[in-house]
Every structure is written in structure tokens, then in C-alpha cells.
């Protein structure tokens, strides 16, 4: 179908509210786990198909591709305005993909399935909303909307110390968010006093004249909210707990999507609204990112829980992304955003594989696992593939992003780029340790405790269905990332030149 025929149709609202509608349906049919499961899958699949269609059909232009704008709360100057450009197109597509994976990996959810799927779906609405909103209050509402479902996902279905992890996650992000809110309101009032127009529209607020002190103060408010979510060292301490204790779907969403909302917030709002403060902060961000890369790798190497290793590896990868952003040139930004997508796919895949592993062996402990290659060859092949992708093997997805980031950084800070390149070696160290501990060595624990005659079945059909597309994506993004780079190169050059979209 021709997309241009649909200019009047609120496509963005459809994508945004479809999962929410699914949530309502799940709550209506809450007594049937089967119905909820299929409803969740159907909803996420529909969103995915819509996004693939948009991804293929929309032209690779640099401005807004789709826009919606309605009055919402005129007394405060708040509007319901959504817009989609190349970057948000990518992020929403990634969201749609990973949500399908999240539903499929929780297919056998036995504990309160209706509530579980309802929360996963409303989380999708929150994340998509963050990627689409261009009114700052609307953005903030979606930003907060992500918190409550995640709190419940970790707190109800998590492992071990789940309530502690859930609350820690909640308070870290909320503390940042409230700084953001204070900054947003201040900016709104300053703009209102200057022009008499009280509006939260991002494009209006960009025109605000700020003195450098005020600009820095407001920028720090934005920055705090976003770097806590990314997370940048030293704000990362919530992440290992949350990732480790979360159920599989929660980990996939956290690592694959929630971290990206932080990066997205930085490039969409924090940098364009406060360009000169952002420029001043770049070296600082780069140093923190570098520290994060090494520190996280170091800690990751010491972990025995695989989920914790992957969690810390996320901190290291996000360090690369921030480093790329701090380099502030086209190449590095393309690399950073590509790495964001790649990290979503590989880490999402790894968490899915770890969930499958835990399902079979009842453990995630490197000390008791081992020898999987002999008993579960197919599973092990996928595990190896995703681990290699995660450590940045050339030809697989993460490598493309990392090399672009390093090249871009080299042109600005050669020394930093050289250090960061060494960080890749570090990541190889901890990832290979995971591979060694899980796949090779003597046969370790193969059954859940107390379950003596368990079956060592390799992947079933659902799991094949889940892993093959992700694996293909990992290889495709490694060999030929152009289709992903193409839609975002225009918006990136606009962001770098003028600090935002027209």
C-alpha cells in the first residue's frame, strides 16, 4: 500500500496505543492464560508488522517523516504531539521486535500470566511513547509510564532479591526523572517569560535564550535523568541488580530498550535544547564513558552469575555509545546509534538464551555450569554466536558499530580512541570466560535441584522461531548495516549541524 495515501491517518497513535489496547484486552480475559498469551503475541506482532511496513515504505529523508499534533491541556500549554524521524523509526522498530521476543520467551509464564502480559504490553506503549513524543510533558509522562510496569515485572516475577532490585531501579530512575521534570518546568517558565508563549513543545522551547549558567543548570537536570537510565558510570549501580533479578522478558526489555531511551533522550532533547552546555560537557562525558568501559569490564570478569556478566557488559557497551556521542561527528554518531541497535539485538538474544539455559539447568552460575556443547549443541551454537557478536567479532553486529565509534572518536580524541580500542580486548576476556564456563569444560549441573531425571532437550520449535530471526539480524547487521544507517544519517547530520530537526 502506498504510504502517502495515509497522511491523514494517525499511524503513530495506532502504533502507540495498540499495545495499550492489548493490555486492556488482557485484563478483560484475565482468567484464560491461553487467550492472554495469544493476545500479547498478536498485538506485538501487529506492531512489528506495522513498523516493518513503515521501515520499508518511508523515504530516507532527514526531517520528520510522520507527525501528529493535537491540543490536549491548553491551560498548561501541553499538546499531544508525536513525530517520527529516521532515528525514532529505528528505535520503535527495535522495540517492536524485542517485544515480540519478550512475549515469546515468557510463553510458559505460569504465575499470574494475564497481569504479566498486560504489563509487558503497557511497557511497550511507554517505550514507544518515549521514542515518539515531541512535547516535553508528554515525553515525561511516557518516561514515567515505563517505570511502573518494570517495577512490577522485576518485583513480582523476578528471582532472588527481587523487591530490593525493583525498588533500587525505581528510585534511581525516579530521582533522575524528577530532576528532569524540574528542568522542564523551569525551561517552560523562562521561555514563557521571554516570549509570553507558554508551551512545552520541543521546537518552541529550542528558541529560548538562556544565560550560560542557567543553561548548564537545566542541562544537568536533563543529563541526570538520561545518564542514570543509560547508565553511565558512576550512575550504573542499579543496573546489575535489576538485570539479574528481572525475569527473562524484563531483562530483554531493560537491556534492549530501556537503556536506549536514555541515549535517545540525550540526542533528542538534552543536546539540542542546550547546545553550548552540551559542548562543554562532552570531554567530561567521554572520560566517564571510558572509565565505564574499563571498570565495567573489570567487574564483569569477576562475576560468576552469567546475567551479571551480561549486565556489566551492557554498561561497557553503553560506554562506547556515549563515547561516540561525545566525539560529536557524523561517523561516531552513526556508529553509536548502530551500536545501540546492535546491542539491543545481541544482549536481548543473550538474555533469551540465558533464560533458556536457566529453564533447563536451573542455574546461571559459571561455577556449576559447563559442557553444554555436548548435550545441547544447537543451543550452544546460538549461545556462541551471540557471545561472539557481543564481544565484537568482525562480521557480526557489534563490530560494525564499535569500529565506527572508534574511527569517529579517533578524529577528535586519538588517545581516547586508542584506550577504548583496548576496551574491546577486555570485553573479549569476560565474554570468552562465559563461553568457556557454559559451553566447554567438564559437564556441569544439568538439572534443576531436586529434579533428578530431567530431559536434556535441545531447542524446541518456539525457541527456534525466536532465535533464528535474531541470529540472522546479528549477522546481517554485521555484514551489511547500510539499511539501518541510511534512515538515520540524515537526522544525525541535522542534529549535529543545527542541534535539532526543523
Amino acid at each position: 500500500m502506498n504510504l502517502s495515501a495515509l497522511t491523514g491517518f494517525p499511524l503513530l497513535s495506532l502504533v502507540l496505543w495498540l499495545p495499550f489496547f492489548g493490555t486492556l484486552l488482557c485484563l478483560v480475559f484475565r482468567h484464560s492464560a491461553l487467550a492472554c498469551r495469544w493476545l500479547a503475541l498478536l498485538t506485538t506482532l501487529t506492531v512489528l508488522i506495522l513498523m516493518v511496513w513503515l521501515f520499508v515504505g518511508l523515504p530516507a529523508e532527514s526531517g520528520w517523516l510522520l507527525k501528529e499534533d493535537y491540543a490536549w491541556i491548553p491551560s498548561f500549554g501541553i499538546r499531544y504531539s508525536l513525530a517520527l524521524d529516521g532515528i525514532s523509526l529505528l528505535m520503535v522498530s527495535l522495540t517492536a521486535l524485542l517485544q515480540v521476543a519478550a512475549v515469546l520467551i515468557s510463553w510458559k509464564q505460569k504465575q499470574h500470566p494475564a497481569l504479566f502480559y498486560a504489563l509487558v504490553l503497557i511497557l511497550e506503549t511507554g517505550i514507544i511513547g518515549v521514542f515518539l513524543a515531541t512535547d516535553l510533558i508528554l515525553f515525561y509522562i511516557f518516561w514515567e509510564l515505563m517505570l511502573i510496569p518494570m517495577l512490577f515485572l522485576i518485583g513480582v516475577w523476578g528471582h532472588g532479591n527481587r523487591v530490593y532490585a525493583a525498588l533500587k531501579f525505581f528510585f534511581f530512575t525516579l530521582a533522575g526523572s524528577l530532576c528532569l521534570l524540574l528542568s522542564i518546568i523551569s525551561l517552560y517558565l523562562i521561555h514563557g517569560e521571554q516570549t509570553g508563549v507558554y508551551s512545552f513543545a520541543f521546537e518552541t522551547l529550542m528558541q529560548t535564550q538562556l544565560s550560560s549558567g542557567v543553561e548548564m543548570l537545566l542541562y544537568i537536570g536533563f543529563l541526570l535523568a538520561f545518564v542514570v537510565k543509560v547508565p553511565l558510570f558512576p550512575f550504573h549501580t542499579w543496573l546489575p541488580d535489576a538485570h539479574t533479578e528481572a525475569p527473562a522478558a524484563g531483562s530483554v526489555d531493560l537491556a534492549g530498550l530501556l537503556l536506549k531511551t536514555g541515549i535517545y533522550g540525550l540526542i533528542r532533547f538534552a543536546f539540542p535544547l542546550f547546545p553550548s552546555a552540551a559542548q562543554q560537557s562532552l570531554p567530561f562525558l567521554a572520560v566517564l564513558a571510558l572509565i565505564g568501559i574499563f571498570y565495567a569490564a573489570w567487574i564483569a570478569y569477576a562475576q560468576t552469575d552469567i546475567k551479571r556478566v551480561i549486565a556489566y557488559s551492557s554498561v561497557a557497551h553503553m560506554g562506547f555509545v556515549i563515547l561516540g556521542l561525545a566525539a560529536w561527528n557524523q561517523l561516531a554518531w552513526e556508529g553509536a546509534l548502530l551500536l545501540m541497535v546492535n546491542h539491543g539485538v545481541t544482549t536481548g538474544g543473550l538474555f533469551i538464551l540465558i533464560a533458556m539455559l536457566q529453564d533447563r539447568t536451573g542455574s546461571r552460575d559459571l561455577r556449576v555450569l559447563g559442557g553444554m556443547w555436548k548435550s545441547l549443541p544447537y543451543f550452544s551454537a546460538f549461545f556462541l554466536l551471540f557471545c561472539l557478536a557481543s564481544l565484537g567479532l568482525p562480521g557480526l553486529s557489534n563490530f560494525a558499530g564499535e569500529i565506527l565509534v572508534l574511527l569517529g572518536t579517533f578524529s577528535r580524541w586519538p588517545l581516547f580512541a586508542a584506550f577504548a580500542a583496548a576496551g574491546v580486548v577486555f570485553s573479549a576476556a569476560y565474554m570468552l570466560r562465559v563461553v568457556q564456563g557454559v559451553l566447554w569444560g567438564p559437564l556441569g549441573q544439568m538439572c534443576k535441584i531436586g529434579d533428578d531425571d530431567c530431559l536434556h532437550e535441545d531447542l524446541d520449535r518456539r525457541e527456534w522461531l525466536l532465535l533464528i530471526p535474531l541470529a540472522m539480524l546479528v549477522i546481517w547487521l554485521g555484514i551489511y548495516p547500510a539499511p539501518v544507517l541510511e534512515p538515520m544519517s540524515g537526522p544525525i547530520s541535522l542534529l549535529l549541524q543545527s542541534g535539532g530537526l526543523p
Binding site: R30, W72, I73, P74, S75, F76, H112, L115, I137, Y140, I141, E144, L145, L147, I148, L151, F152, G155, V156, R162, V163, A166, L167, F170, F171, L174, A175, L178, C179, L181, L182, I185, S186, Y188, L189
Partner: protein, 470 residues
């Protein structure tokens, strides 16, 4: 008093006469169904306030019949109807006399209506005392419960002291200005010299009394004990209506104050900041839902003081929106508590709620929504309430208070999430059902719907508030 004036006062007369009638007839025909009669009377009052145009704008220089006053009469009447619906099963299982209870609630609603309509200091005093007196009885209504008796006595002693302060303060202001009527009562105080010092002393005493009534720090100490001891629906009414009505009456009072407010600024600032901070610290360690709600209401009163301090139509609109958001969510929370109560026990300790979330998912969700709305999490109504107040604080030039408000909001998540964690994230020990009544579910559904609807689309409510503000 002319017939026109009586017509203008009709909604309040309906409430007062209705209460008297229920009390009299109830003596001959005792029945639980008087409560439903009371619901009918409150709804009648609400409709007459909303639909019948008043003949005169002000009655006897005491009470206004303008749109501002009428709005609050409607609001408190609906609150009364909801409280009575909540009490239906509660009074039955605790064997409380239906007609007396109904009459007292109607009197309380009438007092709240009078207070919100007051245009003179005497009217304010009468309205305030009308419902305070009723609450002395309502709080101690469970006669054989020692907590209830303790709460009643505490409220009585504190209330009597506050009444003394209020009367003395009003008389000082009268002595200084020669008028009870607003805004003349303050007009004389605005020039320097003369009786200004006397008037300010009167104001200080009045603030003490107001502080007691709405439990601002340092006058809040009665709050947790009274909330804990009072029957759950009464605690709900006390937490919502009695405080909301005081703030509704303070908005015209502070508007009339004019430039005199500059002299009170330091005190108001301190009251707001202290209430937010001390309330937060006191709420953090609570493990009893009613006591937690009591301390958290202290924090909310601090937020409302910001609205009063800033002043002006926008801040006042934010304040009234906050009052409404707070009333809805607090009523919902106490409503869930009421519906969880059984013949022998009323759950209050967090341990009583362990794992109840999956046994009673709907009511637990309502409780969670109410608590999250009180915490100001979007897309619930509490978010725009907090948003409005913080915007007003920044705009009015009080960034310090805005920062304290943000910090209090962050800390509040800890005590609001604790019950939710207990409800949904802990295993329950026993499979004990806590059956509620159908009327309670109606009230809870209404609260839940209001929290969501006004949270997602607050525009109509904001427009109404803009329209009624004097």
C-alpha cells in the same frame, strides 16, 4: 432573612433539615437504610446546588452563593454521598446505629459547605465548628473500641484548643479593622501603623488554628492517632472533606488579604517546608496504612500551602486541582480499607495486606492506583496536581520550596510503594477472603475512574476551576 436568601442557601438547608429529619425519624424507626436516605439527601443537595441559580449572590453577609461556593457544595455533597455508600456495610458489621451516623455525616457535609462558602470570619468560624463538633462524635463512634475513644478525646482536646485560638484571632482582627466581612476585615490592616500590629497578632492566632485543623507541622501531632482510631470511612471523610473545605475557604481569605500577605510570607514558607519535610520523615518508617496516610496527608498539606503562599489565579487553580486530586485518591484509599474490614478486624498493619493483591486483584489495584496518584506518578491525576503546584512555586519565585517539594515527592515513593510491595510482591500466609459490599465497589470504581480520567485528560476540570475562581 428573606425568602430570596433562603432560596440561595437551599442546598445547605436541604442538608441541615435532612440531617435533622433523619435524626428524628430514626429515633422512632431505627434502620440501616437511613444511610441510603442520607445518600438521597446529599445527592438532592448536590443537584439543587448545581442546577438552581441562586437569587442573591451573598446571604446575610456571611455566606456566598456564587459559583465558587456552589462548586464546593456540590463537591462535598458528592463526597458525603460516597462516604455514606462506603459506610453501609461497615456500620452494619460493626453494629453502629444507622440513622445517627447518617445525620452526623449530613451535618458534617453541611458544615463543610458552609465553610467553603464563607465570606466573613464569623461564617468561617461557624462552618468550621459545625463539622468539627460532628467529627468529635463520629471519630469516637465505635464506643467499645478503646482506640476510637482515644482518638475522639484527642481530637476533642486539640480541636477545642484550636477553636480557642481561632475565636481569639478573629476577635483581634475584628478589633483592629471593625469588620468581620471579607475583604473589609483586612482593608483596615493594610496601612502601616494604627491597629496593624493587633491584626497581625490575630492572623498569627488564626494560622495556629488553621494549622491544627489541616494538620500542618508543628500542629499535626493528633493526626496519626485520630486516623488510626476512627472508623475507616470517618477517617476518609476527615482526611478529605475537612481538610479540603478549610483550604477552599482559605483561597478567598488569602485573596482578600491583598498586600498584607507579604508579612505572613515567612511563616507560610516555614509551615509549607516544615510540613513537607517533617511529614516525609515521619511517614517513612510507618508500617500501618492509616498512620502512613496520616503523615502523608501532612506532606500534602505542605504542598497546598505552597499554592496559598504563591497566590494569584493560577496558583489557586493549581491548589484547588490538588485538593480535588488529593480528595479522590485519599477517599479511594480509605474506601479500600473500609471494604477490607470484617466483623472482627480492620486491616491496618502492612502484615495484614500480605499477598492480598492476588486474592482481591481489583480492590488492590484501586488501592495501588490511589497510592501512586498520591505519589504523583503519571498518568494518574496526582501527577498534574503536583505539576501545577511545582510550576506555581517556580513561577512565584520560590525555587527552594519547589526543590523541597520534588525531594518530598521522591521520598514519598518509598512509603507509598511499601504497601504495594506488600500487596503484590509477598506471599500471602492465609487464604482468607475479605468480602466487600456492592456499594463499596461502586465508590471504588468511581474513584478509580476519576483518578485515571482526570489524569489523562484534566482539561475539563481545569476549565471549570478557572471559571469558578473569584
Amino acid at each position: 432573612m428573606s425568602a430570596l436568601e433562603l432560596q440561595s442557601l437551599l442546598p445547605l438547608i436541604i442538608l441541615a433539615l435532612g440531617a435533622t429529619g433523619v435524626l428524628m425519624l430514626g429515633a422512632w424507626y431505627p434502620s440501616k437504610n437511613w444511610i441510603l436516605g442520607g445518600v438521597f439527601i446529599t445527592l438532592l443537595a448536590a443537584f439543587s446546588a448545581g442546577l438552581i441559580d441562586p437569587a442573591v449572590p451573598e446571604v446575610a453577609n456571611l455566606y456566598s452563593a456564587g459559583s465558587y461556593a456552589r462548586f464546593f457544595v456540590v463537591l462535598w455533597s458528592i463526597l458525603g454521598a460516597l462516604t455514606l455508600l462506603l459506610s453501609l456495610r461497615y456500620t452494619e458489621i460493626h453494629d453502629l446505629p444507622g440513622s445517627e451516623y447518617t445525620a452526623l455525616v449530613l451535618f458534617a457535609i453541611c458544615g463543610m459547605g458552609l465553610l467553603s462558602s464563607a465570606t466573613s470570619l464569623i461564617g468561617l468560624f461557624l462552618g468550621l465548628e459545625a463539622f468539627t463538633l460532628v467529627f468529635y462524635i463520629l471519630i469516637a463512634f465505635k464506643r467499645d473500641d478503646s482506640y476510637s475513644a482515644e482518638a475522639g478525646l484527642k481530637y476533642l482536646v486539640m480541636g477545642a484548643v484550636a477553636t480557642g485560638f481561632l475565636a481569639f484571632g478573629i476577635s483581634l482582627i475584628y478589633a483592629a479593622s471593625g469588620s468581620f466581612h471579607l475583604p473589609e476585615a483586612f482593608a483596615g490592616l493594610q496601612q502601616a501603623g494604627g491597629m496593624r500590629a493587633l491584626g497581625l497578632a490575630g492572623w498569627a492566632l488564626m494560622l495556629v488554628a488553621i494549622g491544627f485543623k489541616v494538620s500542618l507541622v508543628p500542629f499535626h501531632l493528633w493526626t496519626p492517632d485520630v486516623y488510626q482510631g476512627a472508623p475507616a470511612p470517618v477517617s476518609g471523610l476527615l482526611a478529605t472533606g475537612s481538610k479540603g473545605a478549610v483550604f477552599a475557604s482559605l483561597v478567598p481569605l488569602f485573596t482578600a488579604l491583598g498586600p498584607l500577605k507579604a508579612d505572613l510570607e515567612v511563616i507560610l514558607w516555614a509551615l509549607a517546608a516544615l510540613s513537607m519535610l517533617a511529614g516525609t520523615f515521619a511517614a517513612l518508617p510507618q508500617r500501618n496504612l492509616k498512620r502512613m496516610l496520616a503523615y502523608s496527608s501532612v506532606v500534602h498539606m505542605g504542598y497546598l500551602m505552597i499554592g496559598l503562599l504563591v497566590g494569584g489565579p493560577e496558583a489557586h487553580r493549581a491548589l484547588l486541582f490538588y485538593v480535588i486530586a488529593y480528595v479522590i485518591a485519599t477517599l479511594g484509599a480509605f474506601g479500600v480499607l473500609t471494604s477490607f474490614s470484617r466483623v472482627d478486624d480492620e486491616p491496618q498493619e502492612y502484615g495484614d495486606f500480605r499477598g492480598l493483591g492476588y486474592l482481591h486483584p481489583r480492590r488492590s489495584s484501586v488501592l495501588s492506583a490511589c497510592l501512586l496518584s498520591l505519589a504523583g506518578i503519571p498518568p494518574l491525576v496526582g501527577f498534574f496536581a503536583k505539576f501545577g503546584i511545582i510550576t506555581a512555586a517556580l513561577k512565584g519565585g520560590y525555587p527552594g520550596l519547589a526543590v523541597i517539594a520534588i525531594l518530598a515527592a521522591l521520598a514519598s515513593l518509598y512509603y507509598y510503594l511499601s504497601p504495594i510491595v506488600v500487596l503484590f510482591m509477598q506471599q500471602r500466609d492465609a487464604r482468607e477472603l475479605r468480602r466487600g459490599g456492592g456499594y463499596e465497589f461502586i465508590v471504588l470504581a468511581l474513584c478509580f475512574a476519576a483518578i485515571l480520567l482526570f489524569g489523562i485528560y484534566p482539561t475539563p476540570l481545569l476549565e471549570v476551576l478557572t471559571g469558578i475562581l473569584p
